[in-house]
Point group: C2
Chain length 200, copies 2
Amino acid sequence: MSIDAARRPRKFAVALVHHPVVDRGGDVVTSAVTNIDVHDLARSSRTYGAEAFFITTPIEAQRQLVSAILGHWAHGSSGERIPSRREALAHASVVPSIDDAVASLGGRDGVEIWCTAAKPTGERCVLLPSYADARAKARSDDARTLLIVFGTSWGLAPALVDACDARLPPIYGAGGPGGYNHLSVRAACAITLDRVFGIA
Amino acid sequence: MSIDAARRPRKFAVALVHHPVVDRGGDVVTSAVTNIDVHDLARSSRTYGAEAFFITTPIEAQRQLVSAILGHWAHGSSGERIPSRREALAHASVVPSIDDAVASLGGRDGVEIWCTAAKPTGERCVLLPSYADARAKARSDDARTLLIVFGTSWGLAPALVDACDARLPPIYGAGGPGGYNHLSVRAACAITLDRVFGIA
């Protein structure tokens, strides 16, 4: 743990993707934005020190809805009532795609993208060997901003996984690989950020 | 990590408490059951191998509502559609209080209760020194079932904290103690179970 304490993590951001994701049958779909995901991932991202939290959806009406919610917390009575929630959501923004999130972080050359998946997926994306390795890489002298990408529905589409630089290992529970590991994206994001950026 | 791999954790259960909890101002209140909490904590509990997940609320109408939801997943079309969700919720039950959860686990003498809190609270409850210590204790030869208790709203009331055997350390983020750590109970439960029972 001494290496962690001695070195601050690299800058990082979090993205929650609603397209392209797969449904129960493996078809590529666009999922609906869930309000509680926005709150929970914003709070977890803020707690672990993310620079930004992006909600990505290609559906303009959904982006308008999320923007309205964020505005309500930034400027409305809710933010006055619960300042800690306002602070978390101040780091959140909604964009059409991961490409837009990358652009707002300075462009593809300045960003290293790690995706997450509960099951093996994609073919060309490098699988990081362990969370210990991910922790070390997140504290290396690589100047690129890390972007950690989570999928909704039944997970990120393989094409998006293959467009990422690396994939974090699945989070296995008591049953290990092959055992039950049906975590919500809210739980998976929290555990992932704690494993990579947390100070236990 | 070898000690973890060599030894299976003790039996454990999870409880989500809606009374007595405190509100924003520190007053003791009864919070409303949130449907997504039931799902998320059931899924996280099942993933990490909990024997049972208890939702506690003294309000009978809320218990009836939760029972109806659980029944819908156990016997209705939702469980057919998403078997993994049915499997998670099969471990969930709703009871009036922590005492009822303890009774159903065999009684107070056979249960060690650990509570969780984002901030220091209670006066008589022992604070575990670290999550490494909690991991070791969760793998000791103590025959008692561990019951890990989470509070809703602004957290467990001090009187309930003091009735527990020990308190897990707060989960701090990038800012450390005093920094921003406003996680949802869904995120906090996931991180806690991963830290104590997870195999990274």
